[in-house]
Symmetry: C2
Subunit: 335 residues, 2 copies
């Protein structure tokens, strides 16, 4: 049984979509127990709308909620009875294996590092956002946790990302690329120039060199390495460009009778071809290198993404990802 | 008469599309004289295919070509008779006002700084890529020239970009935003945190604070400030995501008879709504802060983009952009 804490109060669509996602996950997959953390009465009421196996979802009460605009360090320190703090303490105390939240990234980040804590030897815990590409999902890390990271951190990101992609997503020998502004080794900023030879020297990953941002959506690498400022820019550009293009397309389709009829005709084909680019199918961003697993889903997550993120935790646990990360750190320190 | 040197040998479609673009520009706009620099016989042959006012296009011979994969500093030093070096020398010697090329960015960058030279007081010359947004074009600078720039450089980029957007593109009080990973002032990496208060203190620009990458395609700012690594990632993500989505869309449309019929019906509406996102209409990326003007167009430029880039140089000259940049530096140094 994998025990997964779900933050019932986090995200734009909490608690409705979160609770719905939890119910969906336990009915889709055996071997999961979900612990919904949040205001007892609110969560109970939402849960009451569904029929589900009662022994596989339980509620743990937390009276407070951390809001998106709160300074994260303060929020984690002061709101001891918030869903994030209570939920993460369950993981810390061994009462649960993983924590899933659509809540405030900053608080999740701080809580992950200070409540759950990093695996001994891991210097920074990155967010690894799963992004769609023409060749299937890739992991982008660090997608938002540690700005101004150092070369040694990026090397650990590469190792942890490779383990995740191989054992959770199922890509054998995942291609690791470092985000760069040209293909050649001598290109790049100081951080990239310093990190490049370190990655090249790792014989436990499949390093393919630089990956230009342009090639990321084409599937140029499976594990995309960068520090968090760049990673966040990549992730947000992906969302922004896709949203604007799709909105423009939709407006165009609605502009005349002729195009409206056309829109009806193309709809099924379009839906089929675009479904590989639906990021919500991929589940949330795991925060790697912690003593447990934390998964951050989009703030705007609906039930489907929540449910996928819960199920993703099962593979993480079954595949013993943290044990594999520890083993890779032993290899590193023996060098 | 504005005299514009055009590198006839640079880019994937040289010399054919370049020469075609030059002919197009002189027939579309009065007051331009184009100097095509390249191999005399090759350019002459291309030009022979068109009728055009003979007194407004002339050829200056250059026997060498700098290839994309050459180390730029070396190439500029050794290939004294290349189209880039010969063309830039025409600007340096006052025989021309501007230089347009679709050739190797690195060589254009090095040539711009070392042959044409920076305006006294300008510390770095950024590339300012013009990018399409929902609210019209925005300038992204630095989009690729100076990695690891310092805060003072970014402040100059903001001033030069504002002058360009106001007087060349015609946006009054252009909104200046610094690329950041959150909206709040305390967010960001060390560079952004240091630059933010400096921009806030500039009373000659309209600084609106942070702009998240997600908001860039929505038109969140008119002048988008970042160092070149981030800028290049933004530019390349824009291209990459757009290409992948449009390719996927096209594949979907061709997947069944029904969708093919639909595609025919939506085509005119789609073309109309997508035309605002056609980057080639905006012309190339000006390299700002030089004693003259250098415009870098896409390596894959066709005649339309070349022609637009040539015409863009006329406004630059007529609006006396470099004189305005010099004046803004005087304001800066008097503070």
């Amino acid at each position: 049984m994998v025990r997964i804490v779900v933050d019932a109060m986090g995200g734009d669509n909490a608690p409705g979509e979160i609770v719905k996602g939890a119910v969906d996950a336990v009915s889709r997959k055996d071997g999961i127990e979900v612990i919904l953390v949040g205001k007892q009465d609110v969560v109970e009421k939402e849960l009451g709308a569904y029929s589900y196996p009662k022994d596989r979802i339980r509620i743990v009460h937390a009276s407070e909620v951390i809001e998106t605009d709160e300074p994260p360090v303060n929020a984690i320190r002061k709101k001891k009875d918030s869903s994030i703090v209570v939920g993460m303490n369950l993981v810390k105390n061994g009462e649960a294996d993983a924590f899933v939240s659509a809540g405030c990234s900053g608080a999740i980040l701080v809580g992950g590092q200070f409540i759950i804590g990093r695996i001994h030897g891991v210097e920074r815990s990155p967010f690894g956002a799963l992004i769609p590409t023409e060749k299937g999902p890739a992991i982008l890390l660090d997608s938002g946790a540690n700005v101004d990271a150092r070369p040694a951190h990026l090397v650990q990101f590469a190792r942890m990302g490779s383990i995740y992609m191989e054992h959770v997503i199922g890509i054998s020998k995942p291609r690791v690329g470092i985000v760069n502004i040209g293909a050649e080794e001598e290109k790049g900023n100081a951080l990239v120039k310093e990190t490049f030879p370190l990655l090249k020297a790792c014989d436990d990953i499949h390093f393919i060199g630089s990956v230009e941002a342009r090639d990321i959506p084409h599937g140029g690498a499976d594990v995309i390495i960068c520090e968090a400022f760049t990673g966040n820019v990549i992730l947000k550009m992906y969302e922004g460009v896709a949203t604007v293009l799709i909105d423009t397309l939709k407006k165009g389709l609605m502009s005349s009778l002729r195009s409206k009829i056309g829109a009806l005709l193309i709809q099924p084909a379009l839906r089929a071809s675009m479904k590989d680019f639906d990021a919500s199918k991929l589940g949330g961003a795991p925060m790697l290198g912690l003593n447990g697993l934390v998964v951050k889903t989009h703030g705007s997550s609906k039930a489907g993404e929540v449910s996928n993120s819960i199920i993703q935790c099962v593979t993480f646990k079954e595949q013993e990802i943290n044990e594999k990360i520890k083993a890779s750190l032993r290899v590193e320190s023996e060098k």
